[in-house]
Symmetry: C2
Subunit: 520 residues, 2 copies
Amino acid sequence: MNGAEALLRTFVASGVDTCFMNPGTSEMHFVAALDRVPEVRGVLTLFEGVASGAADGFARMAERPASVLLHLGPGLGNAVANLHNARRAASPVVAVVGDHATYHERFDAPLQSDIHALASNVSSWVSRPGSVEELPGAAAAAVAAAYGPPGQVATLVLPADVSWSEGAEPALPALRGACGGVDAETLRCAAQVLRSGEPAAFLVGGPGCRSEVLDTLGSIASATGARVICETLPARIERGGGRFEPERLAYLAEMALAQLDGLAHLILVGAAAPVSFFAYPSKPSWLTPPDCNVLRLAGAGDDCSFVVSSLAETLDKTIGRAAPQSRAALRPRQAPESGPLTSEAVGLAVGALLPEGAIVSDESITSGAHAWAASAAAPPHDWLALSGGAIGQGLPLALGAAVACPDRRVLALEADGSAMYTIQALWSMAREGADVTVVILSNRSYAILNMELKRVEADGDGARAREMLDLRRPDLDFVSLAVGMGVPARRVTDAAGFAQALGESFATSGPSLIEAVIVR
Amino acid sequence: MNGAEALLRTFVASGVDTCFMNPGTSEMHFVAALDRVPEVRGVLTLFEGVASGAADGFARMAERPASVLLHLGPGLGNAVANLHNARRAASPVVAVVGDHATYHERFDAPLQSDIHALASNVSSWVSRPGSVEELPGAAAAAVAAAYGPPGQVATLVLPADVSWSEGAEPALPALRGACGGVDAETLRCAAQVLRSGEPAAFLVGGPGCRSEVLDTLGSIASATGARVICETLPARIERGGGRFEPERLAYLAEMALAQLDGLAHLILVGAAAPVSFFAYPSKPSWLTPPDCNVLRLAGAGDDCSFVVSSLAETLDKTIGRAAPQSRAALRPRQAPESGPLTSEAVGLAVGALLPEGAIVSDESITSGAHAWAASAAAPPHDWLALSGGAIGQGLPLALGAAVACPDRRVLALEADGSAMYTIQALWSMAREGADVTVVILSNRSYAILNMELKRVEADGDGARAREMLDLRRPDLDFVSLAVGMGVPARRVTDAAGFAQALGESFATSGPSLIEAVIVR
């Protein structure tokens, strides 16, 4: 068999059976091999940023990598922003970048560029097998590298002749690496901190945002008085349905500083110590109080569930059994039945109507904060945030999550400005019949930048600057955009209409889009 | 003044007065400075690939750089594909990449990434001034580097605190470097080759594709019997209006080999020696016959006009004065008045209706070949091709060309698959009132890949592979997409309707889109 077929068979044996792709000429043998390896599902996208973001969404929900097939350096470039997000989310992703044939490289053909340089921005694992014999082993190593833990973006550069040459055999499957544990000394320290009675908080993120970890932390918190705070933009957090709900660290540095003020101890569980998203003149970048002790209990590659259970056991021996966290009764939920369509009304409707098992892809930026709060009382669901901060994630992530979990409803809460970065995702949603409800929070502005313009103390508030942050002139018509890509859509301008549209979309299979024109 | 203002003033003094942008928080001081430096025109785009492609289009037509403002590594990533095209076109572009404040970098905030690695894919000149004092000089150096010659993408990484700090003064303007000339020995060799009577051809590209160079080459050709061939995808060629029209090197390697077969000498004028776009099994990558002598008369950084004039003078002394190339009489042009809408019918209509001074942004891939041939007899116009091969160039390039040349009509000949990579350009066309006629050649397929699948000898022609090259299911509706971004649009399905729509669009100011549904 040729290299491409051996590559796909190695992937399948290693648990990688989905490929989001934008192929070009150098990837034609990979594409042709799909017919000989039907276990691999190919999902076509119209733009590489959709493919890479979908692979991230797939990985966050399936907890295994998809592959993403890209066309030389420019294709990888187009994928970089969402690969950056995947890297920050510690999502396992195998990026396959088709390249010129090995012997063609020296001719510097038009599409030649330094692929390795690009890849090194998002991948600490990059390999370019130089022969068909090396390819299957490199493919298995790529999958193993992607798994981690922690998960990462592994980039396999695939020369066309390596792909088309005969004589390959699939490699042995990649094995998943083991998670790290915790040492007794760290546990002892953490227990001592919690026993001390000094103001303490857990900061939970990454793999710590699963419900069993959070519930255990909730029990420890109720026994010790420690607070539990989750990072601002968790890659995936299980919440709702009476699960323990942590505080969420504020996005704005000044608010986060206030939240953390007075803490003597911050215990990290799968999270990094919090820093400001951006630097602001006269504001600190480091958000933890200067005299606060930061203890790393578990990192992104560790078994957070094991670690916090061990901590709970340790505490049992020293301060008595932590009270099991009682599951909060679900609050009655009510979508607003009248009034203007504010972002609060959107949030209340989402909280009231979100179905059990929903997956929320949240790129709502300024308009979606209310939805997070209102959905705490919703049935169990997953919430996926913009861990890497590179906008254009939301719609591709929703596509990938829907492909990973075809029996669950995906809700994409999407700001208008961000939506336009990867709007092409709508077409793939239609093509795949993905059960995605897209809500465009249309405030017709890069609203966050209007806020940031003040926060960075940029002097002047001139018309020419404002013009660069404004999405009017012309207004974007998301209904037309969606229809143009085969996704049914409607526009709503009041709270009751939004709730009705949302409920109907949740009840209808396949994708649909709601343009929610928000009162500014 | 602060760094951002000094940067803009340095740019203006150096001839850089247009900025295509997708700003974020770290660029807010740059944006705010627009109100204090009104000489700079900011053009907002919805996606960085639009901004970078527009800067390329601007540079190709204005022959000076625009700047493009990008947001950290992910923003640069989104711009990479079209910066790759700009690099291959030797377009002068100054990419300004906003970065975290210098002191913020060590905190590894979510948007932190290795910007230098990304930039090195497209730029051989990258600088990151570390203080406000260094910034203006770095800005002038960036412009000088971008000018070349040859033109290039210069990347200036701009930390937020360097931008917002006070105490800067504009630097002295950047000077344009001088073009290279030619030495007597090279001229003597070329003249000798042309005198020899052996089969010879000029391969012209890059700065050689200006009309005065081509007309001189045409005169030399008629005096010596040499052929004049232009590269497959010239960044910008001046043609029409009776100017000398060179042969065009075929895209398909097998056809190019046939074209060049039998040549004893190939004389390069602004072009590189031709190589196959991709490698194909059992086909050579090097397209010039093995025993053909390749002589580099002028490179991309040389003054091609001076060089070929010098050659003509040298030949005057040895073989008598070269006959001046007679301007061909314009052939009568006729748009088809009936029949199905084939790609040939599109080409004939373009050739018949193209207005004087038009700028054609050609990303028509498989469907547009006829338009090139049919427009040779059109009034004088410029033709901009996909020099770098990274699709998603055509619409942004058209936007930038229209901003550079507001008194000229731009025609974007755009394949449907390629259009979707940077479809967001339509919104900026509407916002800027750009005189762009967008023709979407809608064959509902990545048609070139269906051809390439066979050419690379990928075995099998299976349904699953074909599915990855197909743009049906659902059909893209470009009329809805355009209307959604504020661009008037219509769909045409026959030859007469297309000609009528094209003529009306040419006669109407502002952008409009024609979806030409091509018979496959």
